[in-house]
Symmetry: C2
């Protein structure tokens, strides 16, 4: 049988009230007594029954998800997953609130973060925009005692407790190798379509991609990056122009969102050309393109896993518990047409 507070009291030779004072950091316990109790806790290997404690406390976990506006499929999916989590809130004692902020807008994000200060929150999850002032705002939030996890895009150098997202440098490297190997020694140009170089995850993907390309596939030349701002229309235009302007393009890496535009360009301008294409994010569009051969591989991060992981980590952090590391590693999914879910 697992030891209880009564066992602590007996082992330490004190009353239940004193055990409670120690366990819950309430005042009015002499140092010697506290140490006696803490020793007993260690000796008998007591671990608080979180379920019982939460029941007694009537505890709920008020969580906030700060998500950027934006109408690409990935963000839609992310919203959907958070809403899914909200439907399970009674079940796991969470109270989830979504806060929308304009994308790529550090001041707006900082304002929202600061607005959360005084509130009694068990955790804040945010899709970080990479800027010093955001970093500072996150650090303020952490300093005020609120668990903070970054979602999808990290904020290195900040004091955030956890990052629930993929390793984007590794993602870029993987894309490079897939593209390079799939091209099997052919010589030619590679076009990269990004959303914006202002976002860390896009920058990191490009960084990983470029380094492997340079080191291992010298016969492939990278063309200047196209920035489509995750917008289908812009992407369509940029890719169409690029393809029309050059016959030596044999591969495309799309590391951002808004792939509908890319796909349209491929269907129209890319007609009849032999292009190897690797893109990010599995959506209904990219899934179809993968199946019909327009795309050769899709790299993906599972938004559902990211959201659930973020919630688990925030709850655990709020309770001072630790998590199962392997469970919280967000993996890079690689989809070919054969292993689609």
């Amino acid at each position: 049988m697992r030891p209880t507070v009564y066992d602590i009291a007996a082992a330490a030779g004190v009353s239940l009230a004193t055990v409670d004072r120690v366990l819950n950091r309430r005042p009015g316990v002499r140092l010697v007594t506290r140490e006696k109790v803490e020793a007993a806790i260690r000796d008998i290997g007591y671990v608080r029954d979180v379920a019982a404690a939460n029941l007694a406390k009537g505890r709920v976990y008020p969580l906030v998800f700060i998500l950027p506006t934006g109408d690409n499929s990935f963000m839609h999916g992310l919203y959907g997953e958070v809403r899914q989590a909200m439907t399970r809130s009674t079940f796991d004692r969470t109270e989830i609130r979504i806060v929308e902020v304009p994308a790529f807008d550090p001041p707006a994000l900082v304002a929202e973060l600061d607005a959360l200060q005084g509130q009694e929150l068990a955790g804040v999850a945010l899709v970080a925009t990479d800027a010093p002032e955001v970093r500072a705002a996150v650090d303020r939030l952490v300093a005020s005692g609120i668990p903070v996890v970054t979602l999808v895009s990290d904020l290195t150098g900040s004091t955030r407790h956890h990052y629930a997202g993929v390793d984007n440098i590794a993602a870029g490297r993987t894309a490079a190798r897939l593209l390079g190997r799939f091209l099997g020694g052919r010589k030619g140009d590679i076009t990269v379509l990004a959303g914006s170089m202002l976002v860390r995850d896009h920058r990191e993907r490009l960084e990983g991609f470029s380094s492997v390309m340079a080191a291992e596939f010298p016969q492939l030349r990278l063309l200047p990056v196209l920035e489509g701002r995750d917008d289908p229309e812009i992407a369509n235009t940029l890719v169409s122009e690029a393809l029309s302007g050059s016959n030596s393009i044999i591969g495309i890496y799309s590391l951002g969102a808004g792939n509908r535009g890319l796909l349209r360009a491929l269907k129209e301008t890319g007609q009849g050309r032999e292009l190897t294409v690797v893109v990010h994010e599995l959506t209904e569009h990219t899934r179809i393109a993968l199946l019909d051969g327009t795309i050769d591989a899709v790299l993906n991060q599972d938004a559902g896993h990211e959201v659930r992981s973020a919630i688990r980590v925030m709850k655990a952090t709020a309770d001072g518990q630790d998590v199962i590391a392997g469970q919280e590693r967000i993996r890079l999914d690689i989809f070919l047409k054969d292993n689609l879910p």
Copy 2:
């Protein structure tokens, strides 16, 4: 505020005792009364607080994992993950017992399954050997009211509640495409190293592999399958012989365990040849081989995820609850040297 049993009682106009009788299927309630209570439960949207119920019941989940003996790395890893789960047992109210059975031995497996019959178990997880008598034994266990999940290798056609493992046909297909694409149009022979064609997961991987190879890479010819029984020594011999005997082998797919032997053969006999190699299961050996270029891709299933998923599903099934489908899908991991964890 979430409704409680008191709210049901008030809404249905009955006493708490009657509500309890209905909720816990205790006798002594007239049909009309029961229906009245059930209606109230639906109306106010009551959902039992499982944590509180478990506390009151002092409930634990006695679980059994039936695992095959075998000294390959994957099985070691699987054992390790189950033991990891055991260390968390006080925390999640499980009581896990490991039962070892000889690998590829249906009668032994059946005996163990039948021995579990009368016991009060919240669930049984087994690495299924694919045989009719095993199927029947699993069905008996399910019929006796025990939740059963298959782990790593499925038992289709049985009444098992869930399968915690990857889609092995998809895995084989994926391997074929990776190998085919990485070979970039070269013409030659492909050797397949399996453990045993008596195991369903190996058969399925081969099936998926062969079908994609035949359909999409006609320039590649499949040599007869080598059965290494997941044993490093046998695998080494078989692969060495195959490589020595033919200069037209340009690709290898190892779909089973025991890759140490394969790697040794590659280091020795495969020296200086340009081979493209895809294997299953990420171990310390395959990791190194991936990094040094001996292997081109590793397909993997995360044993930790499989074990944790199996536990979640068994608990939920025992409680008659449902699970988050997306969370319990075991994904096929594809590792290149760039995205190793």
